[in-house]
């Protein structure tokens, strides 16, 4: 009997091999959905089995919720992807051979993200993030157009530099830990490090964190390390944009937060919270202004992802029960909403045959259902009630007003600027004169509206167990 913990790692690993061998793209797409669905079920099953720890793997409140979120979005995205790739084959942008690699890489990415999430060993955590990155690099370049190749190249170079610096940081953390915990695996185990952290050398630990912050921060897409992100989002297949924004950025931030917890337990180290607050606000304000000049719909939402990662980083930087709670909720809401938006955008780009904002007009008359989906997604991501993003942003703004009014002013300013940009850019898309092809959408709307319904529900009513759980994690984050 294999435990759910093994299942979330084994199912994607097996699926990679099987999908790489199967030639038919239809069977491939179905198997991809099946594997993702099974992984999601195994992720949910983690709730009922007892918590687990070894020097290599760990299951605690913090990662269990991210595993469920990740596997859920991966599952719905695989459903979206199945209806998306049919169209790509028809238009000849992808060939069946490439689809085999696409499906195998998709599972490799999910498996790697799960590895990163459940890793207790900080080296394994690094391996997970790195493999997930490499598999998305390949998928970003899969269209092989000049723009896609350049986007993938840029993503690869910047991602590798980030990952290299993160690895140097990991080595430094190990060096610090082995002085106290002794050589070997236990000196890389995260939970033992947290316990022993007060005895660590604060200077070396602080230096390590700087490398980790720049390294994993590049993967989170924090300004000024964000240059790869808009290109990678706009040139790859849309399902990949959805999982990049919705999941991979989260996983990178999760890695950073694990190290933040280690440093928080040692009062003599540098003030991690302050650095994260500054980086978060820079990303938020910068991305909010960049939103105004976008002409490509996927780049627009890529900048919106930078903005939201900025908000989340700010929230965790502030710390404390309320801000951490807001950060966790915002992480969840952003994942669900942004992937829903990318589902809608993927269908729109397919029916209109373009990603240029100027060429997409009047969706409400030509494709009313898609227009409703996109409009709801934009309302949600702009932070309007009654959606869940509003709840988390409201909590964050009110808690920071109570503690640091000046920071809250900057936060609110960024939010308003971004709000204006989104409304301005998308007005024509939704309500302008209808133009361009008005073909039928051969796609499933289930993932899109399922995500939006969840975000709406979170805005209206958060179930009591979820609240209790987020509180526990927020307390753990300190």
């Amino acid at each position: 009997m294999i435990s759910p913990l093994h299942a979330i790692l084994l199912i994607p690993a097996i699926a990679v091999v099987v999908l790489a061998l199967i030639p038919g793209y239809r069977i491939g797409a179905i198997l991809n959905m099946l594997a993702s669905g099974l992984t999601f079920m195994a992720g949910v099953a983690l709730l009922v089995v007892p918590r687990y720890r070894s020097d290599v793997l760990i299951i605690d409140d913090f990662n269990i919720y991210l595993v469920i979120l990740t596997t859920f979005v991966a599952f719905t995205t695989s459903i979206f992807s199945a209806s998306y790739i049919g169209h790509e084959l028809e238009t000849g942008r992808l060939t069946p051979t490439f689809l085999r690699f696409y499906h195998a890489l998709y599972q490799a990415m999910i498996g790697a993200m799960n590895v990163a999430l459940v890793a207790n060993n900080i080296g394994l955590l690094w391996v997970g993030v790195e493999v997930a990155t490499l598999s998305t690099v390949m998928m970003v370049g899969i269209y092989r157009t000049p723009a896609a190749v350049e986007a993938a190249w840029k993503y690869f170079i910047l991602g590798s530099v980030g990952i290299a610096l993160a690895f140097f940081g990991t080595i430094l953390v190990y060096l610090v830990a082995q002085e106290v915990l002794g050589e070997g695996l236990q000196a890389m185990a995260w939970d033992l490090m947290v316990q022993a952290s007060p005895k660590f050398d604060p200077k070396l630990l602080s230096l390590a964190f700087v490398f980790l912050l720049v390294g994993y921060g590049t993967k989170v897409g924090l300004a000024p390390f964000h240059a790869w992100l808009p290109d990678a989002h706009s040139e790859g297949p849309t399902p990949i944009s959805a999982v990049l924004s919705g999941l991979l950025l989260n996983v990178a931030l999760y890695a950073l937060l694990r190290f933040k917890i280690i440093l928080a337990a040692n009062p003599a180290t540098l003030n991690v919270g302050l650095i994260m607050v500054v980086l978060g606000l820079i990303s938020l304000v910068f991305a909010a202004f960049m939103l105004y000049r976008r002409r490509d719909i996927k780049r627009l939402f890529a900048y919106s992802s930078i903005e939201h990662m900025g908000i989340i980083t700010f929230a965790f930087g502030m710390g404390g029960p309320l801000a951490n709670f807001a950060g966790l909720l915002h992480m969840t809401m952003h994942s669900l909403t942004k992937s829903a938006i990318f589902f809608a955008v993927g269908h729109i780009a397919q029916v209109k045959g373009t990603q240029r904002l100027a060429d997409i007009k009047g969706l409400s008359t030509s494709h009313p259902v898609l227009a409703v989906g996109l409009a709801l997604g934009v309302i949600a991501i702009a932070g309007l009630p009654p959606f869940g993003v509003f709840t988390s942003e409201f909590m964050l703004v009110s808690s920071s007003f109570a503690r640091q009014p000046w920071l809250a002013v900057v936060l609110v300013f960024g939010l308003i600027v971004a709000f204006g940009a989104l409304i301005l850019r998308l007005q024509d898309v939704l309500f302008g004169e209808a133009s361009g092809p008005a073909g039928e959408v051969k796609a499933t709307y289930v993932p899109l509206f399922l995500h939006l319904a969840l975000v709406l529900m979170a805005g209206l009513w958060l179930p009591e167990p979820v609240v209790r759980w987020f509180r526990a994690v927020a307390a753990q984050l300190g």
Partner: protein, 224 residues
């Protein structure tokens, strides 16, 4: 064998890697860059093997072997072949000239010494100095990636950066094998990825000069 002798040899080998990083910076022919990189990989494998000896941890010999075979022989040979097939034995343009690049490199070495040496009184001097060397190699690799515009030399810059990482990882006493293996493995993956990309870039543009790609990026011409 005295303690200080082990110390000196470790320094010599790590120092020679650093010197080779500098040599990489000012090479202006691709074939020369590849040869220097192979030399650096051999220096790395010697350094790792020495660490295996003085730390009495034979599993590091595996890492040394991987560095020697893969990075010292296989990858340079393959890149030589690619370069020959692409017909680019010509000079490579630096973005900034050799003088300022070398000065920046010196600055980076000073920076890494200043960063690593004062902190961590708890770890031994050998480990600390190894770390300073490793960080300098990493930063010089980064510098090389920034100053070069050619895809192949950017690859070499990246792999030289990874050499620094392996040096750091093996300098940290008793770091589990899992990690070293993964580093070696990631280099392999990196090479495959890079190979694919170089191939595609060649296929699409008839050049491996990355600046030729710039006109296609979303930021220019049509503002994203």
């Amino acid at each position: 064998m005295t303690q200080s002798f082990g110390f000196d040899v470790a320094h010599l080998l790590a120092g020679s890697m650093l010197v080779l990083s500098f040599v990489l910076l000012y090479q202006d022919r691709i074939t020369a860059v590849l040869n220097v990189f192979a030399l650096q990989a051999i220096a790395l494998s010697l350094s790792v093997a020495w660490q295996a000896l003085i730390q009495d941890s034979p599993h590091l010999l595996v890492t040394a072997g991987i560095a020697l075979v893969v990075k010292g022989i296989v990858i340079p040979t393959a890149l030589h072949r690619i370069v020959r097939r692409l017909g680019i034995h010509r000079e490579i343009e630096d973005v900034i000239s050799a003088g300022p690049t070398m000065l920046t490199g010196l600055g980076l070495v000073a920076l890494s010494i200043l960063l690593v040496m004062p902190v961590g009184e708890t770890v031994s001097v050998l480990v600390r100095e190894d770390l300073a060397f490793a960080l300098a190699v990493i930063l010089l690799g980064l510098l090389m990636m920034i100053t070069r515009r050619n895809a192949v030399t950017q690859i070499v810059g990246f792999m030289s950066l990874e050499n620094g990482l392996v040096l750091a990882a093996t300098g940290a006493k008793g770091m589990p094998l899992v990690v070293e293996f993964s580093v070696a493995f990631s280099i392999l993956i990196a090479f495959i990825v890079f190979g694919v990309f170089v191939f595609r870039i060649r296929e699409r543009f008839d050049t491996v000069d990355v600046s030729a790609l710039d006109q296609f990026r979303g930021e220019r011409g049509e503002r994203g």
